[in-house]
Structures are given as C-alpha cells and as structure tokens.
C-alpha cells in the first residue's frame, strides 16, 4: 500500500469520550471510503475528515442535505464527499495545489450554519 495515514491531526476539539462512534478514529471510520482515499492519494490529492456538531438527526433526509451541501461546494473533488451513516462525520477529497482547505471549510460552514450545524476538522490524510 503506497499511502500512509498522515500524522497530521490539525484540530481535534471533539470530545474523545467513547469508543462507540464518537471518538476521533470512530468518526473518521464512519466517513471513510477506501477507494476514495486510495485514488485521491494516487493523484496527490488530500482527504479531509470533519466532525459534524449540532442538532443532527441520522435520518437519510438530513444526510442527503449535508451531502448536497458538500457536492455544491467549490474545491471538493466530484464524487468524493461522504457523510457517515450515523451523521456525525463527513469527508471529502480536494486538490491542495488548487484550493486550500481553510476556504473550503469556511464555505461549507456557511452552508451548514442555517441548519444549526457546525464542523470541526478531525484529520487530513495526505
């Protein structure tokens, strides 16, 4: 396997309380798609994982809304956005040569804010 998980954990304000879907690794695992990670790293793109905070319901409808917000955000590689089944994390790939993560994150935050949701970064795989 050519890729390695980056040791880069930028910010992890999420409480590492339980091993049942709420600690960092579990949230990353929830939004992890191996094919996205492998193909993105092959192209020297990065994959970012975020915790979703707020009054979220794990209903398919809410997840679809988040997914749709992700897919319409500039800088995110098409077809790489993933929202975890329990609705507590998301991930996407992007090209760091074209767009920095900060602006992507701020745009996404603006789109999710009306729903009372915020995001915090868990991990970037590069």
């Amino acid at each position: 396997m050519r890729f390695a998980f980056a040791a880069l954990v930028l910010v992890a304000p999420v409480a590492s309380a339980m091993a049942c879907g709420y600690c960092v690794e579990d949230r990353v695992a929830g939004a992890y798609d191996h094919s996205v990670v492998v193909s993105s790293l092959d192209r020297r793109h990065e994959v970012a994982f975020f915790a979703i905070e707020g009054p979220i319901a794990a209903s398919p409808g809410v997840r679809r809304e988040i997914q749709s917000a992700l897919e319409s955000t500039g800088g995110i590689d098409r077809g790489t956005a993933r929202v975890s089944r329990n609705g507590t994390s998301l991930s996407f790939a992007y090209d760091p040569g074209r767009e920095r993560l900060g602006p992507i994150m701020r745009t996404l935050e603006k789109r999710l804010a009306p729903r009372g949701l915020s995001i915090s970064i868990l991990r970037v795989v590069n």
Partner: protein
C-alpha cells in the same frame, strides 16, 4: 445461655470463622496489573497467516492451556465469502479469516500481546465479490484499557499492536468496534477469549468445547452477483435494524454441529464454554438429555449455579456449563427459544462420532452436498430441514410420511400448494388425501401455518430435488 443470645453467638462464630477462612480478595484492584502501555500504530502490513499464536483454537475443540505467561496473538481482519448454510454464501468480515474468529485461551495474570493488520483490501483468491475495504478495530471485553488508545479504528494496510493483562476469569467476547458496530458484528467480526482462574477450574473434565451463538441477517445480493454458480448473499440492513435474523447459528453455520457432531463418551464430563454474541437476540441455552451440574455465569466459577436446565444469555453474555454424558446417544445443544433453534441454533454432542470426522471439522468449509442456487429453493430447503425431516425423507423412502423425492412428478404445484396451506381441509373431501392418510397409519399431516411465500419456497425446493440426478439431493435433519 438463653435461646436468642445463643443464636447470636452462633451467628457471630460462623461469621468470624468465615472471615478467618476467607483468603485475600482475588479481585483486589491493588493486585491487578493495570500498567498501561501505549498502543503502537504502523503502516507495516503483515503478510503471513491471518491468525497465529499458541493460545488460539480455530474450531469448537478448545486446546489445552499453553503454559507460557505471555500470549502473542495475531488476528488480522479480512473480507471473505463464507457459507453460513448450504447454498448461502455470505459476504462476511472476519477476524483471523474465519467466523467466528479463533478462540483465545489464557488465564488470570497472563499478558496478552495482540497485533492486528487490517487486510480487508486484500483480494480473495477466486472471489472478487467481497465488501469494499474499510476501517476496522478490536474491542476485547477481557481487557481493562483505554478504548481510545487500544480500540481505535485502523485503515486497510495499517497494523495496531497493544497489550494488556487478564485480571478476571471468564469467557469474554471480542468484536470490531468500528461504526456501525451493529453491521461489523453482524458481518462476522467476533470471537471469544476464555480466561481461566489463576489456579485453574475447580473441576476436572474430559472434553472442552467452545460454542458461539450468533445471528446472520442475509439477503440475496440486489446486483444478483454469483459465486461459484451460487447466489451471493449480503447483509440485510433492514432486517438487522429490526432484529429479524435469517439465520441463528452455533459456531458460524446453520445446523453445523448436527452434520459434524462434537464427540463425547458415556460417563465423561463435558465443559462447554458458551458465548452468545447476538448482536440482538437472547439465547436460552440447553442440552437435551442432561442437566447442567454446574453453571458458571460469564465463565467465572465465583458465579455458580447447580442443577440447571438452561442458562439465559443476553448479547455478549457467556457461561461455562458442565454436565455428564449419562449413556450412549446424541445430546442436542439448542437455543430453547425455538424460533432461534429453527433458524439453525442446533448442534449435537454424540457418543458415536468417529475421531477422523472430528479432525475434519473446520468451520465454513464449502459444503460438498448438492444444494440449490435459487434463493427461494435455498429458503425452502432450510425450512424443510428444520420442520419436515422428522416425518419425510428426501430419496430415502417412506418415514411417517411420504418420501419427498419425486413429489412434483406425482402432484401438481397447485395441489401441493393447497395441501401445504391446509391439509385438514383437503382431508375433508379429497379422495387421494384420504387414501394417503390411511396408508400412513392415520397420522395426519399437521398444518404448519405456512405463508404463501413459504409455500412457494417449499415447492421451488421440491422442484429442485426432482431436477437432480437420482440420489444426488439429500437433506439432513435440523433436530
């Protein structure tokens, strides 16, 4: 001394005597080894066997305790196709490349040095139908450690190593703890750790076996993919969330230990280490023909019951049950919740097992008997083997009722459907039905309250039987 004060004196003396004879608390936290050693995560991929270590047993027969105080245990994760019932090839996720995962045996005070490589991305020879690679983790119920450090999820290609000391005796579940946990367990990621008391068990036995009960929630692959000509089955998420399993099994296979019974001899004492994995059903574990002389709930001799008929185990509960084999026979292990038993939670301990048959036992080997590939016929076969074999054979002649082989040539589908739906109604007016009743000693066929869908499955199975070369199709009793 008057009576009350004499009684008080006796009670005091008894309490004092008990206090004097009581040894040190074996669960004194001050004497437990809780020294943390941080887990080690690396990108080094292990390429050897998927499971290794002197303390592991791959099948039902539990190996004797390895005297080494340090147990090196490797259980890699894989994705593979397993056969959970004849013709039901299920896309599973595993520890050690088998379901259930290998059993680890150790004793209190032993140090376990565990390593695991996530190999879910490795291709399976001959099968490209396994689930997409994903993150996995290991959660040992036998350990007292930080979940955030030791039980973290690792990506395909990564390896995690951690160690812990066993502080309590018992039979403990291990499982993948990566979200969605329910899916990871229901896909096969579980096993048992048997921890003996520091000084061993208080009884001696002749045989020891591990019985792991679990549920599968399988549906035919919506993409209709096949493996080796048989339909692929995948996890049925709706049934899983509704706790409606399609198969409830011992040691990974429907009626598996009926076909390959465990061995024992008359007069022997047998110890079963029973773990109910769930993930969602309770087990009322019973062995027909004997009484549990001792039950150690959770596998700890301090939690003792005597003379029990069943032991009730919720998800992740366990027990050691010990009993005598009184005479020659086949003693039936069963979940006395019979809806679970009818889904495959049945096994035998038999005095007639030949040694070579035992040695051949290996879970999830492909079945060699002819089996249907049509999912409806497969469902019909499983239902038939659970409900009908007491009275009917397949190609082996009459029993209490007719041989099922050839029935679709003797009767039309419509007639079979009417008969299966309401045999008592046909017996009121149908001359052939009345003649058959007479031929079979006036033993009427019971109404099994079958749905139309179940009747269709039976008939599909009967047609499959009649499409096989003579003698090729057989059926084996569920219980």
């Amino acid at each position: 001394m008057n009576r009350p004060s004499r009684a008080m004196s006796l009670a005091f003396a008894a309490t004092f005597a008990a206090a004097c004879t009581q040894g040190p608390d074996p669960y004194d936290p001050a004497k437990m080894d809780l020294k943390p050693v941080a887990a080690k995560l690396s990108n080094e991929r292990h390429k050897g066997p998927f499971a290794s270590g002197g303390a592991i047993s791959l099948g039902a027969e539990l190996k004797a305790l390895d005297p080494s105080p340090v147990r090196e245990v490797r259980l890699d994760t894989t994705h593979k196709i397993i056969e959970i019932a004849p013709g039901v090839k299920f896309s599973a996720w595993t520890f050690g490349d088998q379901v259930p995962g290998p059993t680890v045996r150790a004793r209190v005070g032993d140090r376990v040095k565990f390593s695991m490589t996530n190999r879910s991305d490795e291709p399976v020879p001959g099968a490209q139908l396994t689930a997409a690679p994903m993150m996995h983790s290991m959660d040992f119920h036998a350990a007292m450690v930080s979940p955030q450090d030791k039980y973290r999820s690792i990506a395909p290609g990564q390896t995690i190593e951690f160690e812990f000391t066993l502080n309590y005796p018992g039979i403990f579940m291990y499982h993948c703890g990566t979200p969605m946990i329910l899916e990871h367990i229901a896909s096969g990621m579980y096993g048992a750790v048997v921890v003996e008391p520091r000084d061993g068990y208080p009884t001696k036995v002749d045989r020891e076996y591990v019985i792991v009960q679990s549920e599968f929630y399988a549906k035919p692959d919506p993409q209709k993919r096949k493996i080796g000509g048989a339909p692929l089955y995948v996890l049925d998420g709706e049934r899983l969330r509704a706790a409606q399993p399609t198969h409830t099994v011992f040691n990974g296979t429907h009626n598996g230990m009926v076909k390959k019974p465990l061995a024992a001899k008359p007069g022997e004492r047998v110890r079963l280490h029973v773990l109910n994995v769930g993930p969602s059903k309770t087990s009322s574990f019973h062995v027909v023909g004997t009484i549990f002389d001792r039950v150690w709930f959770e596998g700890n001799p301090d939690n003792q019951f005597r003379g029990m008929q069943t032991v009730l185990l919720g998800s992740s509960n366990s027990a050691i049950v010990e009993f005598m084999i009184p005479e020659n026979g086949s003693y039936i292990m069963v979940d006395h919740h019979f809806s679970n038993a009818s889904q495959g939670a049945i096994g035998l301990i038999s005095t007639t097992v030949k040694a070579e048959e035992r040695e051949l036992e290996h879970h999830n080997l492909p079945a060699t008997e002819a089996v249907p590939t049509d999912p409806e016929a497969v469902a019909g076969k499983l239902a038939f083997e659970s409900k009908c074999l007491a009275c009917h054979s397949v190609g082996q002649g009459k029993k209490l009722g007719p041989d099922i082989a050839g029935v679709t040539k003797r009767r039309s589908d419509d007639r079979l459907a009417r008969w299966l739906k309401s045999p008592e109604k046909m017996l009121e007016s149908d001359a052939d039905a009345k003649a058959m009743l007479k031929e079979y000693n006036n033993l009427p066929m019971p109404n099994q309250s079958l749905s139309d869908a179940e009747i269709r499955q039976y008939i599909r199975y009967f047609h499959w039987i009649d499409s096989q070369p003579a003698g090729a199709a057989t059926a084996k009793a569920g219980h």
